[in-house]
């Protein structure tokens, strides 16, 4: 009997071990397939036309790197609906994108900011397709419930290091942020004008990790996209404005930025492909897509 038990226990341990091995392998193959899909998109770029569907051709989108996730998701979804269409997004930065649009090399210029007057004069039309909002979170016991833009900047650049300087408890501030390359980090630093000047004590690689760290650490402050807020943390009001979709749409909440897909001339003047893309964005499906990448829809 005892021997049998031992055998069973051994088998179970073996099972657990095998499971870890499989998970290990799983991640690596996941990476592989990532690169594979990348290659795939690259190859499809070259085949311009297909015969299925009523629409044929290519839409070139050039612009903001922050919009990469959104633009790729949009491109994939739209191509799935219209197999004859190829959407080829490129990510070179907002200004370069609008330049390409005005210069005629792109159908759509992506910008993660409002257009400048000079850009509008050159013929670019601002079509806001989604809004990116960021919430500032602290641990639940923190007495500070509101921050001024200035204070937030000083916290992240390391000038304010204790909550007592902001009227809270005498607790050191633990500055939590995301890793370099993260869209949320890019947006946050860009809006506050502190690109690459932030002094992070924690650079975590996912929104979930930031939430967990902030919830578990007294005196911690972090930034996350709006859609993940829950009861484990305090979402701060900024300049007295609550981080809600309504306040972001009205423009009162400063930690937000528009995602603009600019066109040269009004949408109605564009070719059928571009019109269809904007129609798709306005449809229920398009709105779901916007929400699925953590953005706020505009109406």
């Amino acid at each position: 009997m005892k021997r049998k038990m031992k055998q069973i226990l051994g088998m179970m341990l073996l099972g657990v071990f095998a499971a870890t091995m499989v998970t290990g392998c799983g991640t690596s193959t996941g990476e592989n397939s990532d690169t594979k899909t990348e290659q795939k998109t690259k190859t499809t770029d070259n085949n311009v036309t297909g015969d299925t569907g009523n629409l044929n051709g290519t839409i070139t989108m050039i612009g903001s790197t922050s919009m990469e996730k959104f633009a790729n998701a949009l491109g994939e979804a739209f191509m799935e609906k219209n197999p004859g269409v190829t959407v080829s997004p490129e990510f070179v930065g907002s200004s370069a994108g609008i330049e390409a649009l005005v210069g005629g090399t792109a159908d759509i210029g992506n910008a993660s900011r409002n257009l400048e007057d000079s850009e509008k004069e050159a013929g670019a039309v601002e079509n806001i397709v989604a809004i990116d909002g960021i919430a500032i979170v602290t641990d639940e016991d923190n007495k500070v419930k509101d921050l001024k833009k200035d204070d937030l900047t000083k916290i992240y650049s390391g000038e304010i290091t204790n909550w007592k300087e902001l009227g809270g408890d005498d607790t050191p501030i633990v500055v939590v942020g995301r890793e370099a390359g993260s869209g949320t980090r890019g947006a946050f630093e860009e809006i506050l004008g502190i690109e690459d000047k932030c002094k992070y004590a924690n650079e975590l690689d996912s929104t979930g990790a930031v939430m967990a760290k902030v919830a578990a650490t007294k005196g911690a402050i972090g930034y996350v996209s709006l859609d993940v807020l829950d009861d484990t943390v305090n979402a701060l009001t900024l300049e007295g404005v609550e981080p809600t979709a309504e306040n972001i749409k009205s423009g009162d909440y400063f930690l937000s930025r528009p995602f603009v897909m600019a066109t040269k001339g009004e949408i109605s003047e564009q070719n059928d492909l571009v019109k269809a893309l904007f129609d798709y964005l306005k449809s229920e499906e398009g709105k779901q897509l916007v929400e699925s990448v953590g953005l706020i829809t505009v109406d």
Partner: protein, 311 residues
């Protein structure tokens, strides 16, 4: 039984079976070699472009890691130092505990107690690394934060990390290498010929003297293998320490938030592009070279050229 298919059937079928088996074994053997070779080749091919583009000294000896800045800076010296120091201390803590646990299990433990400890150790080996990380995040980090607040109470310059620091990472790593060290050391100790032990005891040495003067030296090469594997596991671990170390690039001081070679790759691969991505591959190459060197050097130095008592 069908006579044709049985290997006792005839000399010819027997030979075919033998040959097939032989080829199969050889193929399997070469599969591992093939994997190692292709990984090596891939790492070199994908890791060197950035080295040439950014500059070897700038990557390896630069201290500023700002891959998204303009102009970008890709110095990974602090990351390399963190990996070396973190692994060193994890091994310093983990190996003595591990080897002594192995001695306990193999030599001194009462049977009933060993029956509890042994499965516990085996279970420890089976726990996924992310669980270690979560426990570290939820238990170790808050404790470290209290300590940090106490030590740096009046410090003006210290950046508080909420307990995510080098010490937390070292502790988690030390625990994670325990099962490897224990299991391999234990089988090494058990493989020491019984007559060595009985001779020592017969000569009047005490049990403890026998363990330290006879059994452990005799099991040396197995224990070294255990240490090498432990070092490999510690330096290669990513998931657990990415949760507890804070992942900011800093000089590896005990209470600093630090980033290891592994976490540097894992945390930024998701959104990295162009040169940034290539540098991450370079970090992979550095890690790969580290593991190779550690394996070769440790095995050579610690074994001292001796090839006895293989396990």
């Amino acid at each position: 039984m069908d006579k044709k298919n049985s290997i006792i059937g005839s000399h010819q079928t027997k030979e075919i079976a033998e040959k097939t088996a032989f080829i199969l074994f050889t193929l399997c053997g070469f599969f591992a070699v093939l994997a190692v070779l292709s990984i090596t080749l891939y790492m070199i091919l994908s890791g060197t472009p950035a080295l040439l583009k950014v500059g070897i000294t700038e990557i390896l000896f630069g201290t500023v890691w700002k891959p998204a800045a303009n102009p970008a800076s890709y110095g990974i010296l602090y990351v390399i130092l963190t990996s070396i120091i973190g692994t060193f201390f994890a091994v310093l803590i983990g190996v003595p505990i591990g080897v002594l646990t192995a001695v306990f299990l193999a030599e001194t433990a009462p049977k009933k107690l060993a029956a509890i400890v042994k499965p516990a150790v085996e279970l420890l080996a089976g726990i996924p690394s992310v669980i270690y990380g979560l426990l570290g995040l939820l238990i170790l980090n808050p404790l470290m934060y209290k300590l940090e607040q106490f030590i740096f109470k009046d410090s003006q310059t210290h950046q508080f990390t909420g307990g995510a620091n080098l010490i937390s990472a070292v502790f988690v790593l030390a625990i994670m290498i325990l099962p490897t060290v224990i299991n391999i050391s234990e089988s090494a100790i058990r493989a020491v010929p019984a007559q060595l032990k009985s001779s020592s005891l017969a000569l009047g040495a005490s049990h403890i003297q026998t363990i330290f003067k006879v059994i452990l030296p005799a099991a040396k090469s197995g224990i070294i293998a255990a240490i090498v594997l432990g070092v490999g596991r510690a330096i290669g671990e990513a998931m657990a320490i990415s949760l507890v170390s804070g992942s900011a690039v800093n000089l590896p001081l005990p209470f600093n938030s630090v980033r290891f070679l592994t976490t540097a790759i894992v945390s930024e691969m998701g959104y990295a592009a162009d040169t940034h991505r290539e540098v991450l591959f370079t970090i992979g190459l550095v890690l790969f070279v580290f593991i190779l060197v550690i394996n070769l050097v440790l095995t050579k130095i610690l074994k001292g050229g001796k090839q006895d008592g293989e396990n």
